[in-house]
Amino acid sequence: MSRKSFRQAVNEALAQEMRRDPRVILMGEDVSGGSGSPGEQDAWGGPLGVTKGLYKEFGPTRVLDTPITESAFIGAAAGAAASGLRPVAELMFVDFMGVCFDQIFNQAAKFRYMFGGKAVTPLTIRTMYGAGFRAAAQHSQCLYPVFTHIPGLKCVIPSSPYEAKGLLIQAIRDDDPVIFFEHKVLYDMEEEVPDEPYTIPFGEANLVREGEDVTIVAIGRMVQMAKAAAEALAKEGVDCTIIDPRTTSPLDMDTILESVEETGRLVVVDEASPRCNMATDISAQVADQAFGALKAPIKMVSPPHVPVPFAAGLEDLYIPNADKVAAAVRTVMGAPDRREAAE
């Protein structure tokens, strides 16, 4: 066990799995960086340095720089997965899924069903998501609801370095296509992470905090916002449960429903655009299956239905934060927001 950043946790998971299984290869744009250039090879190790050092250890047959050609290399990763390799493809920003979406949702996701259960496609696509980098509309989206929507794909959204390492190792060992979402703002977050390889199973939510008044379900980076909100609310005497589903497909609805049966109140926090996102999906399932247990209407905390803005002040307004989560909790607790009342 040692203190590691999210970035180091991902790098360590990749290195350990590549050592364990020679069929695991890594491909993507500048995952090494410098291929064919006069200067240094492994110059970048990924645009944010997440894969740094892997080229030096595993060489050019296991760590492949690709041209900027997402359809070709994501499709190649799918084809290679169906042909005996276990590729990890890095799609730099999830926003670029638009240029290669067919290869994911019409090809990789559907091989198994279309081919009558005879295809196995152990493909992992790692991708950066989320707002907070002043990266504007084409480099800041979440988009995981889009992939959660598609049968045949699994969606993994780690909320911390510990979660990232265990879930990525599970993703690489998993026999189905997995989209692994890494929040760019979390890369520098540090916590204690085991040095040895370990897995966290999919479809098993993490009970981050137990409290009897309200259930907060939060996705990815929003788990950190929910924790900050819960600490503030504790001082007001409101005791929150926080559930991190870890994976949105499969989704552990059992844990969420059990908690709502106990607390009777639900707030869902999701950084994805508000229409047809995880907040609407989870809320609908709770309303469908546990309506009688609800003491108050469900509250959803999501950004407004606009593209992610560039200007710092606008982006800060856009992103759900601890104050917005706390306000939603106060609403479902039936109490007026005291700070607003004081103004």
Binding site: P67, F73, G79, D102, Q107, F115, G116, D176
Partner: protein
């Protein structure tokens, strides 16, 4: 390398099997018993067979929406194929794929594909796997003139050269992308011109001539197997039926198909060539014709009688585990 007598018999048998299969599906589709979209390969047999005769199960192919011929040429079971086209439980894909997604990965057949240009990137992956795992296998992408214009295809051609993959890109140019002529939709005179731009050898062959396809494919596949990288092959040919079954084909010239059938039929050309050269007897080929006709009769009877998938089958085969 020369074609042996066994090779010739095998080639003829497969070409005849494709023709009989497709002619029969054409007839049966008209009765309304076959659901969905069906795109037939009749007329193009020499391409699939001329290429796939060089391949074994360790080699992969990706096909198009017009995929039955590639399936047969890659040794998929024609009875299981017919059952799949009828949507039966013991069809090649359990009745979950149908004509447009027919596949058998155990034979290296990575699927017909409902998306034009869907296959070429997958073939880069199959070729990468063969190269990385050292299987000695090659991967062949079959695409049409329509697919030649897709971005996925252009990206795959580039990547195959950049990674020096054991891949072959076969463009079956039958002159029409759906109802639009390739003379209108393809920016260059011949698709083969694009090979140079992607840094790979290109060759154009007459797709009615089995021997021409076989020879071009042999050279390309030998080069790929020996580490020489990818090749583009443009195969000029014609389809006998419409884009899909039910297509009235009013975009074609009057008498166009009849003239090709009379003068450039790939099976007729093959028979003439091998009998004139004294390589095969006409009686041998007629015996194959009769045998295949019976086999396809049987396949249709079996397919019609076969069980359909049950309600429980709706939910299986989505994930390995979930």
């Amino acid at each position: 390398m020369q074609l042996s007598r066994d090779d010739l018999l095998r080639a003829y048998r497969q070409m005849r099997l494709i023709r009989e299969f497709e002619d029969r599906v054409h007839l049966e589709f008209a009765t309304g018993d076959i659901p969905g979209f069906v795109h037939l390969y009749a007329g193009e047999e020499a391409s699939a067979v001329g290429v796939c005769l060089h391949l074994t199960d360790r080699d992969s192919i990706a096909s198009t929406h017009r995929g039955h011929g590639h399936c047969i040429a890659k040794d998929c079971d024609p009875v299981a194929m017919m059952k799949e086209i009828y949507g039966r439980k013991d069809g090649l894909c359990g009745g979950k794929g149908g004509s447009m997604h027919i596949a058998d990965l155990s034979k290296g057949m990575m699927g017909a594909n409902g998306i034009v240009g869907g296959g070429p990137p997958l073939i880069c992956g199959a070729a990468l796997a063969a190269k990385t795992l050292g299987t000695g296998g090659v991967a062949v992408s079959f695409t049409g003139d329509g697919g030649s214009n897709q971005g996925t295809t252009c990206e795959a051609l580039n990547l195959a050269t950049v990674w020096k993959l054991p891949a072959i890109f076969v463009f079956e140019n039958n002159g029409y992308a759906e109802a639009t002529s390739s003379k209108y939709s393809v920016s260059c005179k011949d698709i083969v011109e694009r090979a140079q731009g992607f840094g790979m050898p290109g060759v154009m062959v007459d797709g009615h001539d089995f021997f021409a396809v076989w020879e071009a494919a042999r050279e390309a596949i030998d080069r790929a197997r020996s580490g020489g990288g990818p090749t583009l092959i443009e195969v000029k040919l014609n389809r006998y039926y419409g884009h899909f079954e039910g297509d009235a084909q009013t975009y074609r010239a009057p008498g166009e198909v009849e003239a090709i059938r009379a003068q450039r039929d790939s099976l007729d050309l093959f028979r003439n060539r091998v009998t004139e050269a004294g390589l095969l007897d006409i009686a041998q080929m007629e015996a194959i014709d009769a045998e295949i006709k019976q086999a396809i009769d049987r396949a249709v009877i079996d397919a019609k009688a076969a069980a359909v998938p049950g309600p429980a089958d709706l939910l299986t085969d989505v994930y390995v585990s979930y």
